[in-house]
């Protein structure tokens, strides 16, 4: 049962295409398993669809349709198949990752503190996104921290709790700089999350502080 969803604002930015790549992939993971948010995004995308439908059309360049028809003929003839992206390396991380991540690179687990490991997630064609998998030991208490900018954390396995509630598989925690919390991973098992930080700012959040020396 999913209890924690992205905010409407985040879903709207997802629909409008203005959410940054890192947060976008984390939200995509959530939406892939959440009918409520998928339907909400569908509604917001329909706002975009009606914008597109109602906009005053622009003039195309002369011969635009001919070019398009030539392109689809070339496509049909197989002469214009898009070059397959070279696959990114994927380390085995011990859990089945959501399909949405199929084209992402997955780094090996690395130790960053007692009971905490991380793995870097790379997005095809984008080296700047701060996305990572985090694996935290059962019962591990994370230091109290605040966030610089938004951090998006989606639980893949296990759970953690803080003053705001309990976050289990399928839940997405959207924490901004108003949130000061001290999450504790629940005792019944390790917790694996995918997390992203918004912006290229100096990372000061908990995860950010841990990761900063590693990603420079």
């Amino acid at each position: 049962m999913i209890k924690h969803h992205p905010s409407d604002e985040t879903l709207f930015r997802y629909a409008a295409g203005s959410l940054e790549p890192g947060p976008r992939i984390v939200v995509a993971v959530h939406v892939g398993g959440c009918e409520v948010c998928a339907s909400r995004i569908g509604e917001f995308e329909a706002v975009g669809g009606s914008q597109l439908h109602d906009i005053e059309p622009d003039e195309l360049e002369a011969g635009a349709l001919d070019r398009a028809m030539a392109m689809i003929e070339a496509d049909e003839a197989g002469r214009r198949t898009l070059a397959a992206r070279p696959g990114l390396p994927r380390a085995e991380v011990g859990i089945r990752l959501p399909e949405v991540l199929d084209e992402c690179g997955i780094g090996p687990w690395r130790w960053i503190g007692p009971g905490v490991r991380w793995s870097r997630v790379t997005l095809p064609g984008d080296d700047n996104a701060n996305v990572m998998l985090l694996k935290v030991r059962a019962g591990r208490r994370l230091p109290e921290h605040t966030h610089a900018g938004h951090e998006y954390t989606h639980v893949l396995q296990g759970s953690f709790s803080d003053a705001r509630g309990r976050y289990g598989p399928g839940d997405l925690d959207e924490a901004d700089d108003d949130v000061q919390h001290q999450p504790i991973v629940d005792k019944d098992g390790e917790c694996i999350c995918i997390a992203a930080l918004e912006g290229q700012m100096k990372l000061r959040g908990f995860f950010g502080r841990l990761i900063q020396p590693l990603i420079g």
Binding site: A28, S50, E56, D58
Partner: protein, 218 residues
């Protein structure tokens, strides 16, 4: 197929395509303001099932000039917008069989393709933007279904349209403008005479109201 409306649509499309082939501007298709959701959906199904060029030409005539306009509104130059509109329509051709009329109307589906193509382009140009088409979770292949399901999706789109109409004007405008990208936030600020920092909270308010109205309309 001849017994259905398909034959008629194909004829109409051939006319459109011929008109364009004979040198008349594509914008001749402007008379087609009323391409209905159901008709667009049928055309797309014909592209998916029969690789129907004529059906594609009609869709192109209606949507390509709108996608270009949309992209220009988002801050692209005319030539980049033309390029990305072409890319968008090529993806429409390639992915026609992925269109699921139960999930979205054609306009919304094409909007998402244009959105992703735009994001891709901005990223290739080295500007921060959202992520490519590859990660769209709504991008699962679905067998095209027509009829009642298409009507359900069309109704959902009508509901959204109605909800926008019920929003206070300023809130509706803020949401609509937000669809043209974050660069327009400062334009939004000046258009409404509010500080840049206030735009975000206005968007949040407008979304809250939109959610209420959508829930009431369900």
């Amino acid at each position: 197929m001849n017994a259905s409306g398909h034959h008629f649509i194909a004829d109409k499309a051939f006319l459109a395509f011929d008109a364009a082939k004979t040198g008349l501007a594509v914008t001749m298709r402007r008379d087609d303001e009323g391409l209905s959701a159901l008709e667009a959906s049928r055309l797309l199904a014909a592209v998916a099932a029969d690789r129907d060029r004529a059906a594609f030409a009609v869709l192109f005539g209606f949507y390509a000039p709108r996608v270009k306009a949309f992209l220009k509104r988002s801050g692209m130059t005319a030539s980049a917008a033309e390029d990305v509109a072409q890319e968008t329509m090529l993806i429409v051709w390639k992915k026609a069989s992925y269109f699921d009329p139960a999930r979205a109307g054609v306009s919304t589906w094409i909007f998402t393709i244009a959105r992703n193509a735009r994001v891709d382009r901005l990223r290739r140009d080295g500007r921060p933007a959202a992520i490519a088409e590859a990660f769209d979770p709504s991008d699962q292949p679905e067998p095209p279904v027509l009829g009642e399901e298409a009507m359900i999706a069309a109704e959902r789109e009508e509901r959204v349209r109605a909800a926008l109409g019920l929003l206070p004007r300023e809130q509706a405008d803020i949401l609509k403008m937000s669809f043209f990208g974050e660069e327009t936030q400062s334009q939004i600020a000046s258009a409404f005479g509010i500080p840049l920092g206030t735009v975000k909270s206005r968007v949040r308010l407008a979304l809250g109201r939109l959610r209420q109205i959508l829930d009431d309309l369900k």
